[in-house]
Symmetry: C2
Subunit: 462 residues, 2 copies
């Protein structure tokens, strides 16, 4: 067994220095979406490569067609892990809403005994990625080596579309492929309960355009005789769900698995009621499949949603037009083994069946990615869960996410590598908003958590 007590002690003693380093990184305005900050993005990459070298990593800043990637390697025994984080940040506007300069981080005591680190990127994702680097640094300082063989990939385009990520992974697949990835860009369940995200829903997007007459018509002259594409589209969209909230597309639930009863029970134990999830957004009633909890609906059930619809006259006042066409953006969240291509085909067939003889329909695809689902009782998850549970007041829970983290799918697809998603953000960190913060406890206990996880992985891998 790896003795981690001296590593944890070292992390406790050096919290001041680790904060100084984080502040140095947070002070760099690495806003990736704004070309005016391109040099700052590169400066952050250089800063990280230099810091990793100081720990003993072989680190380099690699050019892409966009912002650079930081790649670092450190030898070690046991499993080979690839850590992923991103060093770019969101823009800061509206600036007047910030209580402090977003790039002059501070420590603030926001309640007795509760301190937070303020600044853009404090939580998303600079504070999070530094928890891992600090854990590595402490290991080296105490033991002179790392508990595993560790590679690190830090992206500079996560907040601006990750356009270079896929090509970079493809071109450097053999260098980056590890036994599994550690991704630190998610949240805890609450301030006392760490979480491992084991499921991410997939996504299929489709734009549907229904066309009828060859031009817009006057509803007086033609109403009652001419097909109205808005009505046809509305009927198609209304048909997508039955009265129990289930999606009616034939074959839609192929590959959807029932969540194991013990997992459902653990989610129930989290005590997140429909009121708690929906209350803050002004709702009260779960709107999906009947008889399932809100967490199951969002984490483990597929959906069909209309994200946008447009047709006819939508300006001020009224225009009695029967439009020539109407369109909708429809997306499906996928779970488990649902196949994006099959879902897309089934949806298109479903729509075509409902288009009257003298109308037509056109489709435009918008992305398609399968769900990511780790087994709830995989050894990787169990190991991390046990390690996290030693650090925090409450045992670690396994959760899922209703959305997707594209890099996880890319790791799976391009590098054949599963990811372990562990992060220490909190729901109120205001990422992407003014006054972003990261709990000091997240930063400190996050470092300790990674130290424990790395040790446990090393022990498992032996």
């Amino acid at each position: 067994m790896t003795d981690i007590s001296p590593v944890l002690d070292h992390l406790d003693r050096s919290i001041g220095e680790s904060l100084e380093r984080l502040f140095g990184l947070l002070a760099i305005p690495s806003i990736s979406t704004d070309p005016a900050f391109a040099a700052e993005v590169r400066r952050a990459a250089d800063w990280l490569a230099e810091d990793l070298r100081s720990i003993g990593f072989e680190a380099s800043v690699r050019d892409t067609t966009g912002h650079p990637m930081v790649v670092a390697h450190h030898p070690g025994e046991g499993p080979h892990v690839l850590f992923y984080g991103h060093y770019d940040v969101q823009p800061v506007d509206p600036l007047p809403l910030w209580e402090n300069d977003p790039f002059r981080p501070e420590i603030k005591e926001i309640a007795p005994g509760r301190k937070v680190i303020t600044g853009r990127g404090a939580s998303d994702d600079k504070g999070q990625l530094m928890t891992f680097i600090e854990a590595c640094r402490a290991y080296k300082a105490v033991h002179g080596k790392l508990p595993c063989r560790i590679s690190i990939l830090l992206e500079g385009e996560e907040e601006s579309g990750s356009s270079s990520l896929k090509p970079f992974l493809e071109e450097n697949a053999s260098e980056l492929k590890a036994d599994f990835a550690l991704v630190c860009d998610t949240s805890m369940w609450d301030a006392e309960t760490p979480a491992i995200c084991v499921g991410l829903r997939g996504l299929v997007g489709e734009e549907v355009t229904v066309k009828a007459a060859n031009r817009d018509l006057h509803s007086g002259s033609y109403g009652g005789a001419a097909a109205n594409p808005i009505r046809i589209l509305a009927k198609v969209l209304a048909d997508l769900h039955d009265e129990n909230g289930r999606v009616t597309i034939p074959g839609f639930y192929e590959g959807v698995e029932e969540t194991p009863p013990e997992v459902l029970k653990s989610w129930e134990a989290l005590g997140r009621s429909a009121e708690m999830l929906l209350g803050p957004i002004g709702l009260a009633h779960p709107a999906g499949e009947k008889g399932r909890s809100v967490l199951e609906l969002v984490w483990a059930r597929p959906t069909a949603e209309v994200n946008g619809i447009h047709g006819g006259y939508t300006g001020e006042g009224f225009k009695t037009v029967i439009p020539a066409e109407a369109s909708a953006k429809v997306s499906f969240r996928l779970v488990h083994k649902q196949d994006p291509d099959k879902i897309r085909d089934a949806f298109r067939a479903f729509v075509r069946e409902r288009i009257p003889a003298d109308c037509s329909v056109e489709f435009a695809p918008h992305g398609g990615s399968p769900a990511i689902q780790l087994s709830y009782d995989s050894p990787l998850v169990k190991t991390a869960q046990a390690a996290l549970s030693q650090e925090w007041p409450k045992p670690a829970v396994t959760t899922a996410m209703g959305g997707s983290i594209p890099v996880v799918g890319d790791f799976q697809k391009l590098l054949g590598m599963e990811s372990l998603l562990v992060g220490f953000g909190l729901a109120d960190d205001r990422i992407h908003s003014p006054n972003e913060k990261y709990e000091l406890s997240s930063f400190h206990k996050g470092q300790r958590s990674w130290a424990r996880i790395l040790a446990a992985l090393a022990d498992e891998g032996r």
Copy 2:
């Protein structure tokens, strides 16, 4: 019996002079919607008042909050009729598409023996209103008097919303009230068949906004748990019709009458197939209530149509949002005795019933007017039908219109006066478009038609 042969002869002989007068009026760019042409609109009003005075009318140009009205009176025996037309015209853009200057009218022979008058307003409505004035002029020239007591109301805002019309009718009700109105702003059935329009559908407009969450939501985080207002709206709109195309709102068909079999037969005899009506707009299949002809659907059946819909993200690409709200503009075409207020209330109740507990709906009314329906066998219609049938190659038919002509409703509501709708436009007159034209035969035989109708009305009224 009034002897109209000399009047008709006079009209034939003076066609050159009447064309010169029409060209004078057409040369005035009385575009009512563009404030830059306000003085020209007034010039057209002055021109008409002066011309009417030359015939012996007591004519005046009356100021309104918008463009002026021309009001003229001429004493006479028999029934008192109010003639309505409008002297303002549509804008001319896109100007490059005009083959001739829109305000330099010309006579063109577009096929052997077929001459047309070109220019903005030639058909809509200057050419049409002058057919009536020329008929009056000829009567005076031949008989020294008019066959009826005639008032004339010429509007200058018909193409720009008629905002002054209602207040003007209200303020001058006793002056303008006649036994019935003659409205010359409609079309013939075809070049050989005159038409009397006996039905105009009414209109109720409603904007519906469905609201769910208090902000736009990420469809990953909330999809499956949160209500989607686009889906709710789509369901409401899809529910509006049953599989036979009938509107499902309770009470919707209250006041709708079945069209008499002999009228349906006369419409069938017009030979306008679904293919003929729908083919030019790229359609083939009547989309309304099953088992009814396209003419019946458009002329004598009520409708529910969606004229516009909007919700969520509708720009380029995709945004996986569940929007906070979605809205649609819905309108109903009414027939016979359907009550606009009842329809509006019934629709709102229908929608409210379908809004889930934690969502809300808001309505904004947009106009409401009942249908106008003359009895198919009213003496007024029969008289005009007989008179027109003497003039044209084929007997006059009674038709209806799917749209509405607001002034007809205003005459009915504010002055308690029915209207006889007779016009000589053709479907291909390109009103509101470049290269507007009016058939020379419409202008000439239109004058003769009014002479016959006035004589017949005088004979009936005796």
